[in-house]
């Protein structure tokens, strides 16, 4: 154990979905209290908070102090609360700041709270807010939507022969099957490949059942310096092996992508490689983006993503299960909470508490969360690597 060690001692979520009667405070309250109870601590044990929300300014009008506004509702006041926004990577960015605060010695016990409420009176307001995850000087008036970004990426791979439409449908079927096992998931119905391909077109080649949608939800994580909080009897220890972030650039399309850059840093920090990963939650705002992540995270060689999917190795019973939660496309994508929902799922997996979607005795877990868009590349990326310390009996 070193001064750099940080443990994930508590996780909690409010289920993702549509909650028209719930406020941001309602959503956040459930997630934070679940995480604090899971950690076995009270609100007065929290020494600092990083609050993650992306759209509350445009959608709820709470342009400033979103964290202070929702956290006072559960009695967290006076301690430093830092508000974090990094588009869809807001949650993982906030987590990284919490980890850095502990490593720097600024705090021993830090709460990371992510909350988002995207269902509002007018759907076009939500689409406007999502559109602001790009550089408006460039995209204003063009009608850029995230579905279009992914549609363009996937069409290029299909044109090159790296992926097929069937691959896109198959990975969507897997996502929905996993989401159906997750009580926190927005979509809990299994679908067939035929249904996926026949659902209405969104942005070619993407169809409705391949895409994440508007979503409400919250997730929270408690991280701590080892030994500061009494260890819960029988609870496996989840330690942070790596926490890395990187920002996008104007891509030529020829250089390594942002996820590859961020993952390389994470693997280096962890002293591990992609072959060591036992379970992963990857950023699949559209289910087929999972296939791109296989390659960028090093789970397979370029061009082999379709074959890796077909082999079944990324299914819950496979060698390296990916998105056992259902991923963004089925568990849901409540933007500011997504990165923390990924880490919650991985903590449950490493502790053996994931019930029907439990993978086989994982030791190393990886979370990959991207956000925003610059021409040709995401604007932000975070990769976290977690480790279960105790062996499985």
């Amino acid at each position: 154990m070193t001064n750099a060690d940080v443990e994930v001692i508590g996780v909690g979520m409010h289920p993702f979905g549509r909650y028209t009667e719930s406020s941001l405070k309602d959503l956040n309250r459930v997630a934070c209290l679940n995480a604090l109870i899971d950690a076995g601590i009270g609100v007065r044990d929290v020494q600092a908070v990083y609050a993650s929300n992306a759209m509350g300014g445009m959608l709820q009008g709470q342009e400033m102090i979103r964290g202070q506004s929702v956290l006072r509702d559960i009695g967290i006041e006076r301690v430093p609360i830092t508000n974090v926004e990094n588009a869809c990577a807001s949650g993982s960015t906030a987590l990284r700041q919490a980890i850095l605060a502990i490593r720097a010695g600024a705090a021993d016990v830090v709460l990371v709270a992510g909350f988002e409420k995207m269902f509002v009176d007018d759907r076009s307001r939500t689409l406007d807010a999502l559109e602001s995850a790009g550089d408006l000087d460039v995209i204003s008036g063009t009608g850029l939507q995230f579905t279009a970004v992914y549609g363009m990426r996937l069409r290029r791979l299909i044109a090159a022969g790296s992926l097929t439409l069937d691959d896109l449908a198959t990975v969507s079927v897997k996502s929905h099957a996993n989401g159906a096992l997750n009580p926190y998931a927005q979509y809990r119905s299994v679908v067939t490949a035929e249904e996926v391909l026949a659902s209405r077109p969104i942005a070619d080649p993407l169809t409705l059942l391949m895409c994440s949608s508007i979503c409400d939800g919250a997730a929270a994580i408690v991280v701590a310096r080892p030994g500061v909080v009494a260890h819960r009897e029988g609870r496996p220890t989840v330690r942070v092996r790596a926490s890395q972030a990187a920002s996008g650039f104007t891509s030529t399309g020829e250089e390594p992508g942002l996820t590859e850059i961020c993952a390389a840093s994470a693997y280096e920090e962890a002293g591990l490689g992609p072959d060591d990963v036992d379970v992963a939650e990857v950023h699949d705002a559209m289910a087929p983006a999972e296939l791109i992540a296989y390659e960028h995270l090093g789970f397979c060689k370029p061009g082999d993503a379709g074959a890796l999917l077909s082999s079944g190795e990324t299914s819950i019973g496979g060698r390296i299960p990916v998105n056992p939660s259902g991923g963004l496309s089925s568990r849901g994508h409540a933007v500011g909470a997504t990165g923390l929902a990924q880490v919650s799922e991985l903590a449950w997996q490493l502790r053996g508490e994931a019930a029907q979607r439990q993978v086989d005795q994982p030791r190393i877990a990886l979370a990959h969360n991207n956000g925003g868009w610059l021409e040709g590349e995401s604007a932000a990326s975070c990769v976290h690597v977690l480790e279960r310390i105790e062996s499985w009996n």
């Binding site: 076009s124 689409l127 559109e131 460039v138 995209i139 204003s140 008036g141 063009t142 009608g143 850029l144 939507q145 579905t147 279009a148 549609g151 363009m152 990426r153 069409r155 290029r156 044109a159 209405r200 077109p201 969104i202 942005a203 070619d204 080649p205 993407l206 104007t250 891509s251 030529t252 399309g253 021409e375 040709g376």
Partner: protein
């Protein structure tokens, strides 16, 4: 910093047709990424006048709007015999 003049045509690297309308933008509409000729950058833009079927990568050229509306430029497929000059268009069309 220095000013660079980019080519007015390029290769369409990828594109998509969006079926979800946005205010002032009826669906479907098309967006693409274009690698400008002469080792120019990869840029993003709206596509107009696309044929129903198209194999990647076709050649496209930029059209500049003239009424101050956004987007103020977009791309159209190059036609045989067209030169590499900027076309004037109507942003409202």
């Amino acid at each position: 910093m220095s000013e660079e003049v980019f080519a007015r045509s390029g290769e369409l690297v990828t594109y998509t047709t969006v079926h979800v309308k946005r205010p002032g933008l009826p669906a479907p509409y098309s967006l693409g990424q274009i690698r400008l000729h002469s080792q120019g950058p990869l840029v993003f833009g709206q596509l107009r006048e696309l044929p129903e079927r198209m194999e990647l990568p076709p050649e496209v050229s930029v059209v500049i709007g003239d009424d101050g509306h956004t987007p103020w430029y977009w791309f159209v497929p190059e036609r045989p015999g067209s030169d590499d000059e900027v076309s004037e268009g109507d942003a409202a069309s």
